[in-house]
Structure formats: C-alpha cells, structure tokens
Amino acid sequence: MLRETSALKPTDIRNPDTFHKVVDCQWACPAHTPVPEYIRLIAAGRYSDAYLVNWHSNVFPGILGRTCDRPCEPACRRGRVEEEPVAICRLKRVAADNKSDIRGRLTPIPAARNGKRVACIGAGPAGLTVARDLAPLGYEVHVYDGAAQGGGFIRSQIPRFRLPAEVIDEEVGYVTDRGGVVTHYGQRVESLKALLAEGYDAVFVGSGAPRGRDLDVPGRAEAAANIHIGIDWLSSVSFGHVKEIGRRVIVLGGGNTAMDCCRSARRLGGEQVSVVVRSGFEEMKASPWEKEDAMREGIPILNYLVPKQVLHEAGRLTGMVFETVKAEYDARGRRRLVPSGEPDVTIEADDVLVAIGQENAFPWIERDIGLEFDQWGLPVLDAATHQSTVPQVFFGGDAAFGPKNIIWAVAHGHAAAISIDLFCRGEDVRNRPPPDARLISQKMGIHEWSYDNDVSLDLRFKVPHAAEEVALRDIALEVELGYDRALAFKEAQRCLNCDVETVFSAKLCIECDACVDVCPTDCITFTADGEEAELRQRLKAPALNMDQPLYVADGLKTGRVMVKDEDVCLHCGMCAERCPTGAWDMQKFLLQSAQAAPCAQPMAAE
C-alpha cells in the first residue's frame, strides 16, 4: 500500500548531532559530558577513569557532583520509561569520592611557554575553565580574583554543608597548581582599561553576577540592620564573618539561593525559618530536590505572598506583612499575580534574608574603551564565540548572558578558551572546531556485547543523609553522605546506556520483523514512507514526543522505510540480538566536545 506522498528524508547518521541527540543527558549537559560512559566506568569500579571522563568535560566533578543544576536528569530517558531519572549528578560524586590519586593523569602542562599571556578576571568556574584549557597549550594565564582563594561563587555562595571546602581546594588546585597559571588572589580588578594596558594578548571576563537584588517596600530602610541580601549574607557565613541569626527568619525568594539561605539559617540558630515566594510553589526557580531538602529540614515554603511592608519597632525588625495573591492567565497564557481578596498575612521575624535575584554589574569596565553593553546592562557578545566588541576581550559565566549556573559557566569557559586560542593564533574565532565523535561496534560474540545490556528494573536509590539532629547543629557538616560503592553500582545499573546506539543497515535487512516483534518498547516500524506528521501517527506506537527525532532509513527491498522512534528505546540490544543478518548493530557513540587543548587521557577502553 505505497502512498504517493512526499517522503521523509532518511536520517543522516554521519552527522554527529544525530546520535548525540539520542544521548539525552549528554545533549542536555551544557558541557556535553559523556554521561553513560562514566556511569559504566563507575559500575565497573573504575572510579578514577570515570573521574577523568568528567574532569575533561566539566572540570569540577567533585563540586558538580554535589551542586550541579543537573539539566541532564530531567532529560534522562529513564524518566520517560519509568518513574525517575538516573541519579546522574550523585553518581558523579561517587567517581570523585572513590578515585585514587589522578594528578599524574591530568593533561600535562609543558614547561615551555608559547609566549602568549591571557588574563582571567574572576577565579570562578568560567575563568578557571579557561585557565585549565589554555595552560596545556603553553599560555601563561593570570587569574585575578578579589577573594583570598579561588572558586568564586562556588566558594562564597554554596554552604559548606552542601560542599566541603576540601573539594573546592582540590579541584581548584588541579587548575591553578600545576604550572602555566599565575593566581592574583586578593586583587580585585578595578579597571579593565588598566588591565588591557598591561599588554595581555587576551582577557577573559568571568566576574559573575555579583549584585543581589534588593527589596523595596515600606520599612526597608528603618529595619535595615536585620535585612540581609542573600548572596552577601551567604558569603559572610561562608567566610565565618556571620555565625548566628535570629530565632525567627523569613527568606524571600524561590530560587536555589533562597534554599541555601534558609538551610544555612536553620544551622545558625534559626528555629522558625520560612521561605516566602510570590509565585506558586510549582513555578519556583529552585530545583525540586533543593526544595525537598529544605522542607525535610522543617522549613515551610509559603507561596502566593507578595511583600507589602516591613514591620519594625525602635529600629528592630519585628516581622513582615504580605499581600495574598493568585495567578491569572491572559489569552496569551501570560501570568499575572492579582490580589486574591484574602486578608494580608503577617509573619513575625527577627531577620529577613532577601534572595530575589541577582544582577550583573560592571562598574569597573570603562564605557569609553569600545566595549558595548545592551539595554539590560549585559555586554554585547557573539553567542558562539563569546567575543565582545573589543576583540581581545571575551566573556563567560554569569557575566556573559546573566545568572545561570556552574555547568553553564564551565561550558562558556570551554567555548571562550577555543576563541582565545584561535584569536591568539591569528585565526578566525568563528571557525569552530568540530567535536570528536566516534562510533564503535559493541559486538563481542553472537549475542554478547561489551556493555551490560540487561535492563535493571530498580527504582531510583535515595542518597543517604546525615541524621537531621546532627546536621542542623553544624553548618560545616556535609548533609548528604553520598552513595557507597554498592549503592552506586545499583544506581549505575539503572542507566540505559543511551550512547550505545542502534545502528541500522538497510542493505542487510531481510524485513523479517524480528526486531519489531522483540522490541520491548515498540520503537521500530517498517512501513510505507510518508510525511513526518502523518507517519508519526501510524507507527507501531505513535511517536507523540516531538522533541525526540525519528530514525528513518530507506533502501529496503520492499520499498518501505524503517522508522525508529528514539523516544523510549531502552538500548537493550534485543533488536540486534534477534536480527539474523546483523542489519542492526549496537555501536557506542562517544562524543567529546571540542576544547582548546586535547583530551587529558585517551578515553576508557572502547
């Protein structure tokens, strides 16, 4: 029943994006960390190898394994075939916790310098990534930071009970202590013009988004002594300048900073700590797991309350009044918060922490040096190259496109390092190098694969926590204990190995339907060609997830096409096991994003 409709274009599997998209976690990771690759290494007990796979891509595996915003997890295919994604982030921590001494395996730094000097402003994740990527190529990288130690917001904003200082010291050290990098800690850059005058070949600005948004309601000024800007307060806590807070604390804001504030407050004497957000609970910016962690520590999250007034008596804050609102949506689906008509809510408090957002601030960049800013006060940049309107100045991290998170800062650092290297060599910075993508068959025997294709039915394992009564007494005590090796193995086995791709060869296929029949998730259909929208409807299981591509192959004897919906493929290899002619093969797709310097170590054995 061949139809006369326009045909769907066969999938080009030589385009690295094709199979990269199938590895949902890696595709979603800004730094494109080869997630399944390191998870398999963890399952094999090869923690150092797993660490290095991470280190190459994301520079801070131990830090990110505790603090990453995990864009990979919502993308994880496991979450679409079962209840929850693989605990990718916490497995990363397992690699960091269990590795042996890997210093000898990091990318060597040559003794000979190439004569080029690069300045990084800010020793946060973006700047350190630039330094790490450029030092092995012989660049002399000078890292400036106003703080006494490296790490930037990683060190100042993230409470120690989530991220111990030793982890930061170690991973910052892998960048700064191996040669090629000169640190200028305690030296805040106050003038870009002056820095440029020092003759650096390139300058990277990774100075973050250092200004916390303030509250503007009546009573703010009078009660100022008890109102603290969240990020500043967190950094004072981090450096030991603040050791206590009032018994009753209100935290304003619904992001991860608010979560860090309320949990820190709980540990510094706050007994009644509540988080108050303007929007609904569901729309909060904080990651679901951070909200869970806060609520687990007895912190209520009160929603749809808009700050109206700060109450004070004799210069002392006594509480806050909030207006109760509800969400209304206009015809275009835009949300508006309107008064609900319910009475105002008053919450008594001794201190208020304001964590309602961060802003970029560049008072140290002179406006007459040709560096343009847009209407929001952000530098005008090329989105791919991170180059500013001053050719030798590049931006990354929160300083580039506004506040994001660590893993984005790392990705920016890699991109900027490539640009800086191209720029210093006099090449076109827009000429981006392609990723290194390899496709390797995993076939070992007739039905043996070099990956474990047995699909685990376990549900996500919870990460053990320290007992609450102990954790709340000590702000420096890490709450999460991390998976032990046995638990990590089980969690690692939940990974579906999405990087082991199903590769189809039409000329070998005899159209026996064996793959169609055995596929546990009904991914494969042999059918008449057609237009994509219509074809998606008549597959063995309709392909309704439009975010997931179809894999289409033509060249079959009957003139039909093979269509595979990648959406819920378990990568179990059953199609290849039941294929009599080897038309299906399971091939590992290993993609490394391009970086300025080549990989530290050859990747794990294929």
Binding site: V81, V455, C512, V516, P542, K557
Partner: protein, 351 residues
C-alpha cells in the same frame, strides 16, 4: 537466541484492552528460536490477536507437537494452559481436551513436519471431525531442527540450501483442509502481520474447525535463492484474495467502501468478517470454487493468501455427537454416575 529475558519495561503509552491488559501481558518467555525465524512473527501475531480480542488468557489452551513451531507456545500467552504433546499427536490431544471441556479456546500450533508428515493422519482426522479449534501450521517447508532436509510441504523443484532439488510432490495443507471440511480456511505469511493478525482473530472467533497455513521462512535453512518459502520468494509471488477485518458488534464502522468491494460474513457469535476484495470474482463462501481457484493459481506459480473459505454456519464435533454442553469437570456425580437403572436401559436398547 537471546540469553536475557525481554525487559519488563514497556512503552509508557501502551494501550489496555477491555480486560485491562497490555499487549505485553500476552507474551511468554523470550524465544529460543534462531534470530529472524518467521515463527516468532507468528507468535507476535497471535499475541496481538488475543490482545485485540480481549481474550482472557486463562481461557485458552495452546497445544503443540514437536518441532521448531511446536516450541513456540512457550513464547506467547504465558498465562494460558498448554500441552506439548508427542510428535504429530497434537490433533488428538486437542480433540480429547475439547471433548472434555468445550468451554476453552483451543489453539493448536504445529509445523509442516508435525502436521504433513508424522502427524498427517492426525491432522486430517481432527479436521474431518470438525473439532472447534484454531489450527495454525507454521509452514517453512523444511526440517529446521534437523538442519534443513525437505519437508512434505516443500514444493517440487525447489532447492535445498546446498543445492539439492526436491523431486517429490508437495502436500498442500490448505487443499486438504478444504477437502476434509474445515469451515474456516486461510493462508498467510509471517512477514505480513497486517494480513495475518485479522485472520487469526477471525479463526479464534470461528465456532468450528479453523485452519491457517502460515508460510514462515526458516532463516537458517530455507531462505535462499531457489527456495519457495523464502522472504523474497513469498513476497514476490504472494497473491492476496482479500483483506479481512474482524468487526466485533460494538465497534463502529468507520471505513466506507464502494458497493461490491466488500463482502461481510456474520458469524454465529455476532462477529462480522468483513472482506475487502482484492481479487475480482473470488467468492470465499464457495468451497468448490475455492479449491478450483487454488489449483489454478498454484499452476500459475502464485501463492494464494487471505481468507480462502468460510462457512458462516459451521457445525462442530459436539453438535455432531450430541455431547453434553457442560465441561466434564463441571458435572456433578449424579450426572457422571447415572446408576444401575440407567445402565439397564442402555443395555435394553441394544438388545
């Protein structure tokens, strides 16, 4: 064969049938047959048909003999009754079971060796006795388990894998079934589920001896040039008489056909077999014409498939014999042991 079980995880949007089961609930153990075996596709078609008909798995008895095909009942309907009998003896075991309990749905699965050679007589008699069953022969024209000798359904002139030419005449099981009174006779191809699934559904709903000859290529020993049971040969020579849809009473009729294109046959249980004609002038209720057409097309080198014959008013063995309606295991002692007086009456009637 695969060593791992098929993962339990399934498509999140897998639909449920009226009993609340997904198609995956009708599966059995993972197949141990060679990869690419046509039999696995037939198993998948049986699973699909039973799911679509919302058949309660525990009301099915699957019977088989010996051979690759006869292993397959392990690979579908894992929650059904089953009996794996002696070689070629499935038909009599099935007949006996049916005698004892007519309430179950009987599914006999056999192969060309099991039914056309060692069990040829059993096959013939179960058909002519009109046992109410679905009898599927997974016909690959070769003895696959013993490495590829010609079977009794190998076509004369066809070539074995090593080049030997078959000089013996082939048994056409469809022809035999038609001659011996099967009231639902079909032929299909494992590589065409769009055709096969409705044929199995129709057979399962047919209250009489339903026979399906399903050509099922043996990828290991009979899928080469010169074979007449290979994927390529069957696809090239397949001549479908009609396309069947099984319509259960409650389903709305959605597709419209021009007059004369569709022939509907209402079965005893109210199910409607809707046949879309693909071949001009073919009447699936005319047994003699069906036989004639079969011979004619075979001589022309075609493999005739589809629902070749159906009797809308079939009678089965129980009707012929006037047996008791209730299963024997549901009869109470008084009915099973009628007593000396009843015996006396019978004896008197025979004097």
């Amino acid at each position: 064969m695969s060593f791992l079980p098929k993962p339990k995880l399934h498509h999140p949007k897998l639909p449920l049938n009226e009993l609340g089961f997904t198609r995956r609930d009708y599966e059995g153990a993972i197949s141990t047959l060679c990869a690419g075996c046509g039999h696995d596709s037939i198993s998948a078609a049986i699973i699909q048909a039973c799911w679509e008909l919302s058949i309660a798995p525990h009301r099915v008895a699957k019977m088989s003999g010996i051979g690759c095909s006869s292993k397959t009942p392990d690979y579908f309907l894992g929650a059904s009754h089953g009996f794996n009998s002696v070689h070629g003896r499935m038909p009599s075991v099935l007949t006996g079971a049916n005698m004892a309990n007519r309430d179950l749905l009987y599914l006999g699965v056999s192969g060309d060796g099991d039914s056309a050679s060692i069990g040829f007589g059993q096959f013939a008699h179960s058909i002519r006795r009109a046992v109410n069953m679905t009898y599927i022969v997974e016909n690959n024209g070769v003895y696959g388990l013993t490495k590829g000798q010609f079977s009794a359904t190998s076509d004369k002139g066809s070539k074995a894998k090593k080049g030997a030419v078959n000089t013996d005449e082939a048994i056409d099981l469809v022809g035999i079934a038609l001659q011996l009174g099967a009231t639902y006779v079909a032929r299909s191809f494992s590589g065409d589920k769009a055709q096969l699934v409705p044929l199995i559904k129709g057979a399962l709903r047919h209250p009489g001896p339903a026979f399906i000859d399903c050509i099922s290529p043996c990828v290991a020993f009979n899928n080469h040039e010169g074979s007449t049971k290979s994927y390529d040969f069957v696809r090239e020579h397949n001549e479908a008489m009609n396309q069947l849809d099984v319509i259960l009473g409650r389903m709305p009729i959605t597709t419209e056909y021009a007059p004369g294109e569709v022939r509907e046959v209402t079965q005893h249980d109210g199910s409607v077999l809707r046949l879309r004609k693909l071949h001009e002038g073919y009447d699936p209720t005319d047994r003699v014409a069906a036989l004639h057409h079969l011979h004619e097309r075979k001589a022309a080198g075609e493999i005739v498939t589809g629902l070749l014959y159906v009797d809308p008013e079939p009678q089965d063995m129980h009707a012929h014999l006037g047996t008791v309606e209730r299963p024997l295991n549901a009869l109470e002692d008084a009915a099973l042991v009628p007593g000396a007086a009843a015996l006396e009456r019978i004896n008197a009637a025979l004097r």
